[in-house]
Subunit: 397 residues, 2 copies
């Protein structure tokens, strides 16, 4: 196996910091600075409005979408970028509900990121057509997919515990029950091998500022299974999803391809940062990435359990059921994470007691893992979390 | 009157170019380059996830919203940034329809930007509650505001002709008829004095990449009249509109203020460019800006009519009924605009025959106007538009 990982030299990582929060916001790829400066000066500054043509801004959402597609097993022309993940959830879910007008249940699980649940709740309330958002425990998803379910809306990797659903099995179950399958890949894209086309799911959505290192607020993506796209009537029917946006027709006619999932003017500067950030993935073998990720996560679990017995594993022990993050429960987790961050080991905290650590083989190696645990053990053993400065309420990043 | 305009030194304008397309995409403010580089390196690069707290990313949408608010007469805390204008139209229109459940008409006019009409069409179709999008001629809007109208959704300045609606009069008419008033300020914000609070309108939305120079794809804004915001149940109920986003509750509870109109994670890089771009407005007196804008537009009309008799004014001659742009109809407008752009006078073209020119007193002066018309006259007189290279079909920026 050719070892191409890690690729630390591609990232600007602060000296001395061990960054285990790439599952929340990826670090800065070195290539971003120069490229973004050039987009600002040589494209916007020099070409102004002509940039839409000369610099390929108009096609950027599909061009970048194809780059994402290669990481999630989506064929060219089936992924488009834009907006935020919440908006993409709304687009996919509203389209999915229209595909099953006789069914009234949106199935999700309590491990889904709250915004997905909120968007479903808002959509259902707003439609006022008697839909129900049914939320079950992650372990109960398969059993809960009945012929009442219009759309199964599931996040593959649980943001809190790292628990990973079996995408193929659940998609097959959904289809056997006649339901539409919508996957949220927020914690999957760039974290684990994904094959959306192979799974046969109708929709997949995700964000790009986590494992894909696109920067704070990088745009989201949406995949629509190619055989379905022509039948979708977008709820968010913006001009850039029109078949001929610059004809300025009075009535909406959706584009004939994935571009109908575009809405408004794309964020060119933000997307340019993402576009160049994705070059860090050139030549990465996802199977190798996964193997390294599993090794790092397993090592972290073994080290923490050996050195910090007060912490209780909140993630699946079986790597095959886990994404690229590991979480531990600790009663004083909030303050402990503050203390850890103060010592330049960056993880994050999710209420009520979860200390969360992401492992990203592009820039994390085994030495980082060992050093992180050594510092964590100091924080726990020396009760550094009991210091007043770490106990004050507030959000831990 | 203290003369503070133009402020050309604040912008990077290409040498020799006369840029009359700031109504489509504003030029690069010099301050953007350094600031964006610092956001990338010193915020994202150095602080990573901590940037959400340390660098004020989380509050940026309201902080920037307040800056926009000062330009459109909105009180502090009543404007928030995010997404695209099309999404903001959807949010405002869906909320407006819920405020008048017994009424079924969305009134707009044929001068509205198509995306607003498309978003209304998609919303109406998706809701399936028998709403009607009624589109009248711009001159007929006031008369068409009847007690059937749930929401009057009007763009103040017509993107094609520059024709400007009387915001106070139409809002008053809407309210007298019991309708909700939604203004699109895409071609107003930074172009003409606006007083949303004074008008009493319920909603206003707009974009920031035109007269506000926020860069390609800069985020949109939404204003909600402060007394109404607590009653709105957002259709797009994303986690950052939640009252306590970091509590990760399973159910949605909207924020108690304008933040309930937030949806997903904001585009920090893109919004940082906008934030610093808005400094060009510090100390600008909108009455002075308007006076200069009128002078430039009147001069342009007089010069074109004197030197290019083949062109027919498509904008109102009366400045009080015109925004900060002037349009002329010309049978060969498409090719003529191509020829003009090739000579570094940048306007744009809108089908079927409109040549459109924006006048932005921050960086355009009378000498620019005279020189632009001299070059336009050459293009027309010498039939440069008849050259094959300008006649090929395609989009003119």
């Amino acid at each position: 196996m050719s070892t191409t990982l890690p690729r630390k030299d591609l990232f600007d990582l602060p000296e001395g910091m061990i960054y285990l929060d790439g599952n929340s916001l990826g670090p800065l790829p070195k290539a971003v600075k120069g490229h973004l400066a050039s987009v600002v000066t040589d494209q916007w500054g020099a070409n102004l409005i002509k940039g839409w043509n000369l610099d390929g801004w108009m096609e950027q959402p599909t061009r970048v979408g194809d780059r994402i597609g290669r990481l999630i097993g989506a064929p060219a022309g089936s992924v488009v970028m834009g907006d935020t993940l919440s908006i993409k959830v709304y687009q996919a879910l509203s389209a999915g509900l229209e595909m099953r007008p006789e069914r009234k249940v949106v199935l999700s699980d309590s491990g889904n990121f709250p915004s997905d649940l909120y968007m479903a709740e808002g959509l259902i309330r707003h439609l006022g057509k008697g839909h129900e958002l049914r939320i079950v425990a992650p372990e109960e998803v398969e059993a809960a997919i009945t012929d009442e379910v219009a759309v199964a809306m599931i996040t593959q990797v649980d943001y809190r515990t790292g628990r990973m659903h079996d995408m193929d099995a659940i998609t097959a179950k959904a289809h056997a029950a006649g339901a539409v399958m919508l996957w949220d890949l927020a914690h999957s894209a760039g974290a684990v091998p994904v094959d959306v086309a192979g799974s046969g799911c109708e929709f997949a959505v995700g964000c790009t500022y986590k494992y894909l290192n696109g920067g704070p607020g990088a745009p989201a993506f949406i995949y629509v299974r190619p055989d379905l796209v022509a039948a979708i009537e977008p709820a968010l029917s913006g001009w850039l999803g029109h078949d001929a946006p610059f004809a300025f027709e009075q009535g909406y006619r959706p584009a004939r391809n994935i571009e109908r999932m575009r809405v408004g003017t794309p964020p060119v500067l933000q997307m340019s940062a993402l576009e160049v950030a994705l070059e860090a993935w050139d030549g990465v073998d996802m199977a190798e990435l996964r193997a390294v990720s599993v090794r790092l996560c397993d090592l972290f679990i073994a080290e923490v359990e050996a050195k910090c017995p007060a912490l209780e594993l909140a993630s699946p022990r079986d790597a095959s059921q886990r994404g690229s993050q590991v979480s531990f429960r600790f009663e004083h987790g909030y303050a402990a994470m503050q203390a850890l961050i103060a010592r330049d080991v960056i993880g994050d905290f999710r209420a009520p007691d979860v200390m969360r650590f992401g492992f990203t083989p592009l820039y994390i190696d085994e030495a980082d893992v060992r050093r992180a645990v050594a510092i964590l053990a100091e924080v726990i053993d020396q009760r550094l979390w009991d210091r007043p400065e770490y106990r004050k309420a507030g959000r831990v990043t």
